[in-house]
């Protein structure tokens, strides 16, 4: 190959953009099948109760209504399996696809209406008479933990699962430590909030008994298996098709109740049924995330070496253990030490079911939370010991020669739950961040009151796990027109997958990128596939493409060898030309050659980096301005610097939303109070304009042929801890310690007021 890496590493314009910019994108709500029927879902208005009766007669009688389906019509109600990190005790808390007998959160599906028009379907919902006997709400984990009232009587407890991570002997380390400090922290419930709400379109063809479901993403092959089993039909009778997707961030594309209800309804009415979630529904039905409460303790030597962290984390899981409900609880105990060398760890996390919307993963699941706990403890310890917070971190970061290094052991769980940090130059990247940020200059402003605002800076480090999910498939086919069709099991949720994968494929085949026809996601394309989550698509899908390209070129070589009777090894490829023994062929001369390959990898990748923040706090209002925010990360190998840069900036702003704004709040009855965008605040264009990011390909990953590491979540992971530390530093003269997110102005104002009154009474 004489043009290696022509595309990999360059900021290729996105292949996706022209369609999306001209309004030609096709999201699930844009599909238009003939004879399309529309679904709407009746959801429980109470958080915990027994269904006495559901009277659907008036709804069924409404003109235009084709069907009203409740648990009765479904019969044996299927239970949604746990896709990722299942534990035996958690199985008791899985979600049925529709409430039968009992409702456990506001928003739980109770009935689905199918009508000729979406408005009629919604009108019909209002005609359903739902009689529910209310039970005591379990609106917080403290109430749930008392087990006085049970969400699942047969489980006899509201504690769904416990995860324990251990390394060394934490208790012994704490007993001997020069310094220890214990603090309580909390992270508020919030959610991924993709701009496109969920939607599904199910096409049932009775004559062939075939189900086609549009609007899926993330893990179509897994969801196909689940759906086929629930519908009682062969896997080959079900196809899941990925169209354009308006963002996912971990929450979209898991198997939700609607992923059964909509196809079931299509088969029930023998037609095509579309359901588009509205935003209020979305806020009460799609996975929530992150609500947890921690008591954590750090131990150090007086010279500033961290010798241990121990603690207990209580997690408000919501009403059910969904497909990836235990991923966050697992991550939060395993990743507390992040990129730091902390020899003794003992962290427990208990997940409690509550009568609120179930939780799942959101970008940086468990990592954002654990980073917040750890980084806060590090700054408190550094301050108490009188050590510069940056110097303290540089001292405690894992050094390159200490890698690979296992993370804390997940107790009583098998090897698939264990992981180790791969490689990296953690201190070098942190130093680069300090330099980019201008730490030496800005640290002089630490705690200063300038023009009525307190200024503060902080720095923190993160690791980001990538390449989970063990395998991915890719196929390649040479077409008559000289194009190569490349299909991958990875899915596109808006991250620019098509572009990145085309770059990898074009380089691997020495073809101009215009000659790659990239297809993704749908179950019709490949024998099997996995999808996009856990920062895996580039590493796993990209590596599968490399394998497929190698195999395809081998087929061509053999073909050339046979045609010319020369050794296959002497064949060369360049710009779609195949040359051997002085003869030249066009690629399309080999049209029809096709391969499918599976890349298997059990080792995770760990990209890593540092964030630094400079903030100004108005003590009179509690308002914080982020004056500068800098990230530097090493992703092993950068495929497209522009798409990566976009991922990082977007992730940082999401992290700032998590830290300052976003909060799903409930009242004591388990009613969601934040069901609209008037109540649920997202970052807007005026909030966080000052963000800079540098992405490096410093230490290629040793565990995959691309050398790439999963990226896209790291921009979010360290934000909570770094911002809270910057605020604490700014307000150090007031001794304010922000330990509970979000750091909204009223909350910060109250902390400042409390600190001042404590000062007065001192």
């Amino acid at each position: 190959m004489n043009r290696p890496n022509a595309y990999i590493g360059s900021a290729v314009d996105r292949i996706e953009d022209e369609r999306l910019l001209t309004g030609k994108g096709t999201y699930v709500g844009d599909l238009n099948l003939e004879h399309l029927l529309h679904a709407a879902i009746l959801r429980s208005p109470v958080s915990h109760g027994l269904i006495r009766s559901i009277d659907v007669s008036a709804a069924r009688a409404l003109a235009g209504v084709r069907a009203v389906i409740t648990a009765n019509e479904i019969g044996d109600v299927p239970i949604i399996p746990i896709r990722q990190h299942p534990v035996p005790e958690g199985e008791r808390f899985r979600q049925p696809v529709i409430a039968s007998g009992k409702v456990r959160y506001v928003g739980e599906p109770v009935a689905i209406v199918v009508a000729s028009d979406p408005a009629i379907a919604e009108d019909a919902l209002e005609l359903i008479v739902l009689d529910i006997e209310e039970l005591p709400p379990l609106a917080d984990y403290v109430t749930a933990a008392r087990n006085e009232c049970l969400l699942f009587e047969e489980a006899a407890t509201n504690r769904a699962a416990t995860f324990r991570a251990r390394m060394g002997d934490a208790d012994a380390a704490f007993a001997q430590a020069d310094y220890t400090r214990k603090e309580r922290f909390s992270v508020q419930r919030h959610t991924a909030f993709p701009m496109e709400t969920r939607g599904l379109l199910a096409e049932w063809v009775d004559a062939t008994g075939h189900m086609t479901l549009y609007g899926v993403t993330k893990v179509p092959f897994f969801n196909r298996r689940v759906l086929a089993q629930m519908l009682g039909i062969e896997i080959s009778a079900v196809d899941l098709i990925e169209v354009d997707v308006g963002g996912g961030f971990g929450a979209r594309g898991e198997f939700y109740p609607e992923d059964f209800l909509v196809p079931f309804a299509a088969r029930y009415v023998n037609g095509n049924v579309r359901w588009i979630e509205d935003r209020r529904e979305h806020l009460m039905a799609m996975n929530h995330a992150r609500e947890m409460y921690a008591e954590m303790e750090i131990a150090c030597t007086k010279e500033g070496a961290v010798v241990g962290i121990r603690g207990r984390i209580d997690i408000d899981l919501g009403a059910y253990a969904r497909t990836n409900g235990f991923t966050t609880p697992r991550n939060v105990v395993q990743f507390v030490s992040g990129p730091y060398y902390i020899p003794n760890l003992a962290i427990d996390a208990h997940s409690f079911v509550t009568s609120k919307t179930p939780t799942g993963t959101y970008r940086g699941p468990g990592r954002y939370e654990s980073s917040f706990f750890c980084e806060r403890l590090l700054d408190m310890a550094a301050t108490d010991l009188g050590i510069d917070p940056a110097a303290f971190r540089l001292k405690n970061l894992i050094r390159e020669e200490q890698l690979p290094r296992p993370l804390a052991t997940m107790m009583d769980l098998d090897a698939t739950w264990q992981t180790e940090l791969d490689n990296g130059a953690y201190p070098i990247v942190m130093q680069r961040c300090l330099d980019e940020f201008g730490w030496q200059e800005k640290i002089k402003l630490q705690g200063q009151l300038i023009d009525g605002r307190y200024h503060g800076v902080a720095v923190g480090n993160f690791v980001e796990g990538g390449a989970g999910g063990r395998s991915e498939n890719a196929s390649m086919t040479i077409e008559d027109d000289g194009m190569v069709t490349v299909a991958i099991g990875s899915t596109a949720l808006g991250q620019g997958l098509k572009t990145v994968m085309s770059q990898i494929a074009a380089d691997a085949l020495s073809l101009p990128i215009e000659r790659i026809r990239l297809l993704h996601g749908s179950t019709t394309l490949l024998t099997d596939g996995v999808g996009s989550f856990h920062s895996r698509a580039t590493v796993m899908g990209g590596s599968a493409i490399l394998l497929a390209a190698e195999a395809l070129l081998d087929l061509v070589r053999n073909e050339v060898g046979m045609r010319l009777d020369v050794p296959a090894a002497n064949t060369s490829f360049s710009d779609g030309k195949v040359e051997a023994a002085g003869k030249s062929f066009a690629l399309q001369d080999f049209a029809g050659l096709s391969v499918e390959k599976t890349f298997i990898n059990t080792k995770l990748t760990y990209s890593y980096g540092a964030h630094a923040a400079y903030v100004a706090v108005d003590a009179a209002t509690g308002e914080v301005e982020v004056l500068d925010y800098v990230t530097v990360e090493d992703v092993g190998r950068v495929i497209n610097p522009a798409t990566l840069h976009g991922q990082v900036l977007g992730a940082v702003v999401q992290g700032l939303g998590s830290t300052f704004l976003e909060h799903l709040q409930y009242d004591e009855n388990g009613q969601l109070l934040t069901g609209s965008l008037a109540d649920y605040l997202l970052p807007t264009a005026t909030d966080f304009p000052n963000i800079r990011s540098v992405s490096l390909g410093l230490r290629p990953c040793p565990n995959n042929p691309l050398g790439a590491k999963g990226a896209g979540e790291g921009g979010l992971i360290a934000v909570g801890g770094v911002i809270a530390n910057a605020i604490a530093s700014a307000l150090r003269s007031l001794r304010v310690q922000p330990c509970d997110l979000p750091l909204s102005p009223p909350r910060l104002w109250r902390l400042i007021a409390e600190a001042r009154s404590a000062e007065m009474s001192r």
């Binding site: 314009d13 369609r19 910019l21 709500g29 496109e196 308006g246 963002g247 976009g646 970052p683």
Partner: protein, 160 residues
């Protein structure tokens, strides 16, 4: 049902609409202009923004019957002869979109702004853009793209 005749992307179109139906749903479902996206249906996110008689309007908050006789520009009307407009092209070069779902409404909002204020500064652009939510980009590349596209609008205004 009411008969209305808005001028959509330069073409007068007559449609029968029920009184309770929004302009957004009419554009999408009746006229199959699905580039206009609906993301919140309560007028906050801006994804459904179209230009009505020169003003950026939330088509989810406007009834179709109110649009009779109005000149409406949707995202489909921004590019001419299959060529990206200067604004669209700047979005592409600055990677000012990822999933693309909010993009239509941001393009129409910024197009309406730059037609009126081709010299809008970063502060003004951010102020107007703050009525549109984007979950992917963090807004920074969008602002960069809009700043760059200003030149084309200034040129058009001065007749150059």
């Amino acid at each position: 049902m009411t008969s209305i005749t808005p001028i959509i992307n330069g073409v007068a179109v007559t449609v029968e609409v029920p009184d309770r139906v929004t302009l957004a749903d009419t554009l999408r479902d009746k006229l199959r202009l699905t580039g206009t996206h609906v993301a919140c249906e309560h007028g906050v996110c801006g994804a459904c923004t179209v230009i009505v008689d020169g003003l950026a309007v939330r088509s989810c908050l406007m009834l179709a019957v109110q649009a009779d006789g109005a000149a409406i520009t949707t995202v489909e009307g921004l590019s001419k002869n299959g060529k990206l407009s200067a604004l669209q092209d700047a979005f592409r070069r600055h990677h000012a979109l990822q999933c693309g779902f909010c993009t239509s409404g941001i393009l129409t909002t910024m197009h309406a702004l730059l037609l009126e204020e081709p010299d809008a500064g970063e502060h003004r652009i951010r102020e107007v853009l703050s009525g549109n939510l984007c979950r992917c980009t963090g807004y920074i590349p969008i602002v960069e793209a809009v700043l760059e596209a200003r030149a084309a609008y200034a040129q058009a205004e001065s007749g150059a």
